[in-house]
């Protein structure tokens, strides 16, 4: 071949006349080879960003990562990566990563370098000293065995094995304030799904969306926030499915939808209630499914009074005490446990901001019925989240049922009355959704539900982050049960998770209120011993009846030979809760000086949590702070360059907080599992060891624990016994002595007395003969094989990808799939077959692992005295529920009502059109001078904050920016914070496209670039024009892409069940121009508050 430099000559004179091949290649390009071609090996991994869990192939050459690409075999992602996933090489190998320890001494203005060994020793000393100083054996006369002086935040970006060691070590030390991003993202999901179905995870997997006939995306911008997962929505569309997007903000999801439904932020329960009403009134509900598989037929106590008759409150509300007594919510002749199984508790605390650590609990009456006695401390302990894998308890008495559904007090009739005023007209008045659009959505949803067709729902934090977040989720559960869409192909509810392992950090919880597998953290007032603990929570029927086995096996995993029958398997070693110890309460405790030491790992609360100013003020009052991350995020540097330094509120030289920055290892530098939004555990292999002093959290926790144990060795102080008795013997490997993540996962999986890995949670025993670190993960190491590492290409198996990774529970991909068959065990239709009863074989069979006792026939009827799994019938598909039913009505388990009810957000531009009650009477508010609220609706001063702000995620950034604002590719793609406003609002306020806007809430003021767009349209709400503004929340002052943090504006107003904050609907003012600098910024905020008459009491009325 002639060496021709000019491409046209090469084409004319070479063999490639058409110019489609070699003619287009220069000498230079011919000499190049792809990094993938020259690599030495490829290591299989998982994307560390959102919860989709895309497969990655990590290419390694000469011991260094040289390229990261999508894994084409992945059953989840099929080779695709979004912009963030595609930038992973930059995340893991880029210059923004630090590899050395930094130390900021008290009152210092600069960082100092510190060697890793010295830093670890210093941190160990501080943990020991602070723990000694703050250890609390008792609280108000009850044994607590804990420290409230140390707190932890972070886990959703970490591996399950890391979360496990975090929870295990901190608990042994008596630390209870352990939290992670799951609290502020999806805790309400766990409570909503868990109380409805018995488990708190997504009921389906993303791949199954392709089988949907209609998909409703609401509370999510699926296409942009989870773009690779969205391919399954597009698969469904290609097959003819209808896509509906309900959202305040028109986005790429909307653009791809058949129907875009505009809605006012904070009104989704009114919308969903309207669809429920439509389904009932137009007889579109699935009769046979509803009667047999839900609690529609169950009769409720005579004294129950609905919101329709009490102006928006349920019966049992005590105005003076601002609490619900939910005795009247119960099943007739049955009786349920108090929320989350407390058979002793019966009322709820409310929005008065009072101290949670209040009254003492009373004893249970022993009947299993809820009584009127109460404990605020028990109630505020986030117990609703413990229904993540086991619904609320029920007494053994069978509740009354009327399967004709005609009894006026049966659930179905109560439901019908409850939503009877949620008419299209009312939906338009409340939501601002035009009636014709609403009705079209109703028709699409109901026409695509039934025996032959299924509709699915996908949501994200647009639903969860509200003062009624759990009830948002519940509303979808009610609708999907009514339509018969749970447990069936193309049906279900997909809770789109936003972090690589935020599902995992709930399952193996770095959360204050949970132990692994959604076992509750014991409470000082209720759980004095193991018997009381089990009695309070366990069911009589279903698999939650075996809860004692799960708990004992956990205690054996943690305390091994020291856990015996004689000492209650070390149950007393567990520290006790006495109230709300969630991350927002921890911030208040820091500000008030009760919490002195703080670990933050892979989370950035100085940008990502609500009321970020309070987050920083809390950290400014610590003795010491340990931040583990890739780069110098705002949580590590607030003392040096945070907003309060500029306003003069803080002076660096006056801040005593000692700060350690510990560089973290990336996902390519450690073994471990992420649990994605499908409940799917996927193992990622280490491609190399981390450089410098960067280390994994697994390394940090293991070696910190080892050092503390060595320093305390020989201690006879009973405070130290749980720590010294802890099983902490993991083999280490490699040049850094990295603990074996395989061994940690094997402990999580569980083993028997022979040291054999267990295969299923049904093998767990309550006598101490088995150990298991997380019962719902039992089976992930079955047969000594890391099942999470399975990677059978997706083309070799069915759409569920059953040989790709391992899903909890028991590798089931679609939960409650017994409901895909009729009561006789036959699929409701051939088109929607999933599992079925094989009469000849005497077992359940199908495309998925049956979520049912494998050989329990459809006609099985339990004896009257049958208990445990045997207590449920052959047509009870919800095996984690005490009655085997899907709960349309939740008589127990939630603090704010048995049925979802529309309340206005804490801050709203309008009065509640449905009820006299404005906001949820159960909402939880932090009363603090730095956390004030604007007036709402027709209250004087509300006009000062006239606009609704909602926040959202962009494709190119990741939550609080710690993994994206430092990446040049991503920073360049989305360089600057912006605020989307409608042309009408821009005109009203004089805002110019690409100009600046100052956004002011009752907490703070920030600035952003103006984006004038029709994507945010004004809505007509009950005769009033309501403008909404939208802002992405990823920015902060550090990194390449800098900007104000939107969460400065957000208040600590929370759902009482799980303490999640209301991010998605709040009130602001907008003004053209940049915000003031220095003290003038605070003066601007104060001036607005004065004009509106805001005080610390504003918004705290019932």
């Amino acid at each position: 071949m002639t060496d021709l430099a000019w491409p046209v000559l090469r084409q004319l004179f070479g063999p490639d006349k058409t110019g489609r091949g070699v003619a287009a290649a220069s000498k230079r390009s011919q000499s190049l080879l792809a990094r993938t071609a020259t690599a030495d090996k490829v290591v299989k991994s998982v994307c560390p960003y959102c919860g989709v869990g895309c497969g990655q192939s990590v290419y390694v050459k000469d011991g260094e990562v040289v390229q990261i690409e999508g894994d084409p075999d992945s059953a989840v992602s099929r080779g695709r990566l979004c912009p963030k996933g595609s930038a992973t090489l930059q995340l893991t190998t880029g210059e923004a990563r630090l590899h050395g320890v930094l130390y900021r001494p008290p009152y210092s203005s600069e960082w100092e370098s510190l060697d890793l060994d010295t830093a670890m020793d210093m941190i160990a000393d501080r943990v020991i000293a602070t723990r000694r100083e703050t250890f609390e054996w008792e609280h108000e006369g009850e044994r607590t065995r804990r420290t409230m002086g140390i707190a932890h935040l972070g886990g959703a970006t970490l591996d399950n094995e890391e979360n496990y060691l975090i929870k295990k070590l901190w608990t042994a030390l008596g630390i209870v304030q352990i939290e992670n991003q799951a609290r502020v993202c999806h805790s309400s999901t766990v409570a909503g799904l868990g109380t409805s179905f018995g488990r708190g995870g997504a009921t389906t997997c993303m791949q199954d969306l392709q089988n949907s006939d209609c998909i409703v995306v609401e509370g999510s911008n699926f296409a942009e926030a989870h773009p690779v997962g969205f391919q399954w929505v597009m698969e469904a569309r290609a097959r003819g499915a209808k896509l509906i997007h309900v959202d305040p903000h028109y986005s790429r999801t909307s653009a791809l939808a058949d129907l875009f439904v505009p809605i006012r932020a904070g009104t989704d329960i009114a919308f969903l209630g309207g669809v429920i009403n439509f389904a009932i009134e137009h007889d579109k509900w699935f009769h046979d499914y509803v009667v047999r598989y839900t609690n529609a037929a169950t009769i409720i106590e005579e004294d129950f009074v609905d919101t329709e008759d009490l102006a928006g409150m349920f019966s049992g509300y005590n105005v003076d005490e601002r609490k619900y007594d939910f005795q009247t919510w119960q099943y007739e002749a049955g009786g349920m446990n108090a929320p989350s199984g407390s058979r002793a508790a019966g009322t709820v605390q409310h929005a008065d901001g009072s101290d949670d650590d209040a009254e003492s609990a009373d004893d249970a009456d022993g009947s299993g019925r809820v009584n009127e006695r109460s404990s605020d401390a028990v109630r505020s302990a986030g117990r609703a989240e413990s229904h993540g894998s086991g619904g609320a308890a029920i007494s053994s008495t069978d509740p009354e049922r009327d399967e004709t559904l005609q009894h006026p007090r049966c659930v179905f009739q109560i439901l019908r009355r409850h939503y009877s005023r949620y008419t299209p007209e009312m939906v338009e008045r409340v939501c601002g959704t035009p009636q014709d659009v609403f009705l079209e959505a109703c028709r699409l949803i109901t026409d695509n539900s039934g025996r032959d067709r299924t509709t699915s729902f996908a949501y994200a934090v647009g639903w969860t982050q509200h003062t009624v977040g759990a009830q948002y989720i519940r509303a979808a559960c009610v609708l999907q049960l009514l339509l018969g869409n749970i447990g069936r192909p193309g049906g279900g509810i997909q809770a789109l998770r936003g972090h690589a392992s935020i599902q995992g950090s709930s399952d193996i919880p770095t959360l204050f209120n949970l132990l692994p597998g959604y076992l509750a953290m014991p409470h000082a007032e209720e759980h004095h011993n193991l018997d009381e603990f089990v009695e309070a929570d366990a069911h009589d029927k279903g698999f939650w009846a075996n809860m004692r086995s799960y708990m004992v096996s956990l205690l054996k995993a943690w305390w091994g030979p020291n856990a015996t029958v004689d000492n209650d398997f070390c149950f007393d070693y567990l520290p006790r809760l006495t109230g709300d110890h969630s991350t927002y309460q921890t911030v208040v405790d820091q500000i008030e000086g009760r919490c002195k030491g703080y670990f933050v790992m892979g989370e950035n609360p100085a940008v990502g949590s609500a009321n970020t100013r309070m987050q920083r003020l809390g950290m400014a009052n610590l003795d010491w702070l340990v931040v583990r991350d890739f780069s110098l995020i705002e949580t590590a540097t607030w003392w040096k360059d945070g907003p309060e330094i500029d306003t003069g509120e803080l002076v660096t030289g006056d801040i005593r907080t000692e700060v350690f920055f510990m560089p973290a290892a990336s996902h390519t530098e450690k073994d471990g599992t992420f649990t994605n939004t499908n409940r799917l555990l996927q193992w990622h292999h280490a491609a190399k060891e981390p450089d410098g002093d960067a280390r994994s959290e697994l390394w940090f926790m293991y070696h910190l624990g080892r050092r503390i144990r060595e320093k305390l060795a020989g201690s006879t102080d009973p405070m130290d016994t749980p720590l010294l008795d802890l099983t902490w013997d993991y083999p280490v490997e490699g040049s850094h002595d990295e603990p074996s993540a395989d061994c940690v996962l094997a402990e999580i999986n569980g083993f028997d007395a022979e040291g054999e890995p267990l295969s299923a949670y049904t093998e767990l025993k309550e006598d101490g003969s088995t150990a298991c670190g997380c019962w719902i993960y039992c089976g992930v190491y079955a047969d000594g094989v890391n099942q999470a590492a399975r990677r059978e290409p997706w083309r070799n198996q069915n759409w569920l990808g059953g040989k790709w990774g391992w899903a909890w529970p028991a590798d089931r991909r679609i939960l409650y799939n017994r409901a895909s068959a009729d009561p006789d065990g036959k699929p409701w239709s051939d088109r929607k077959a999933l599992v079925w009863w094989d009469q000849d074989a005497g077992k359940w069979d199908g495309h998925d692992v049956p979520d049912f006792v494998p050989d329990k026939s459809p006609d099985y009827e339990p004896d009257d005295d049958a208990e445990g799994p045997d207590g449920l019938a052959g047509d009870d598909p919800f095996i984690m529920q005490a009655d085997g039913k899907g709960w349309l009505y939740v008589p127990s388990g939630l603090l704010d009502g048995p049925l979802p009810t529309h309340y206005e957000p804490q801050e709203s531009p309008v009065d509640n059109a449905l009820y006299r009650q404005q906001s949820s009477p159960s909402r939880k508010l932090t009363k603090h001078r730095d956390n004030q609220f604007s007036p709402s609706g027709s209250q004087p001063g509300a006009e000062v904050y006239p606009y609704v702000l909602t926040t959202y995620r962009l494709t190119e950034h990741f939550t609080a920016g710690g993994m994206s604002r430092w990446q040049p590719y991503l920073a360049e793609l989305q360089p600057e914070l912006f605020c989307e406003v409608s042309p009408e609002l821009a005109q009203e306020r004089g805002l110019e496209h690409n100009g600046w806007v100052t956004v002011i809430s009752a907490r703070y003021a920030i600035e952003a670039r103006v984006h004038v767009t029709d994507r945010m349209s004004p809505l007509l709400v009950d005769g009033k024009v309501v403008h909404q503004v939208g802002m992405p929340f990823h920015w902060g002052p550090n990194g390449y892409a800098k900007g104000d943090a939107v969460n400065e504006l957000v208040a600590m107003a929370m759902d009482p069940n799980v303490h999640i904050q209301e991010d998605k609907a709040l009130l602001v003012d907008v003004q053209p121009g940049r915000r003031p600098r220095g003290p003038a910024l605070l003066e601007l905020v104060d001036a607005h508050r004065r004009r509106a008459g805001v005080t610390v009491e504003t918004g705290h009325q019932i």
């Binding site: 490829v42 084409p72 094989v785 590492a789 083309r795």
Partner: protein, 102 residues
Amino acid sequence: MVERRTIEQRAVLGLITENHTYDEAATRLGIRPGLAYLVATGVPTDSSDGLSPEDLQRPGLLSGAAHLSDPRTEQPDRSSHVRAFLSARAKRDPQMQAAAKP
């Protein structure tokens, strides 16, 4: 200068239909296995093109082909530590041993 020659699809597919693997076919044709796969199927080994159901019926298509162009893949699904670790844990626990006895 690299020698350029044309490998036709039918040449590769012919070898594949004779039950040769892509590695074998590539060796015989003097090209890389990943290129042989691309020539035969029109699909890159990373499956990065969106394929319709009809495309998936193309002759020569594999359920997973990344191994044809990738270097060796490391994805062990067991660890040498685990059995010993669990066994030692169990042996050190007399209560567990006693409880397991029938």
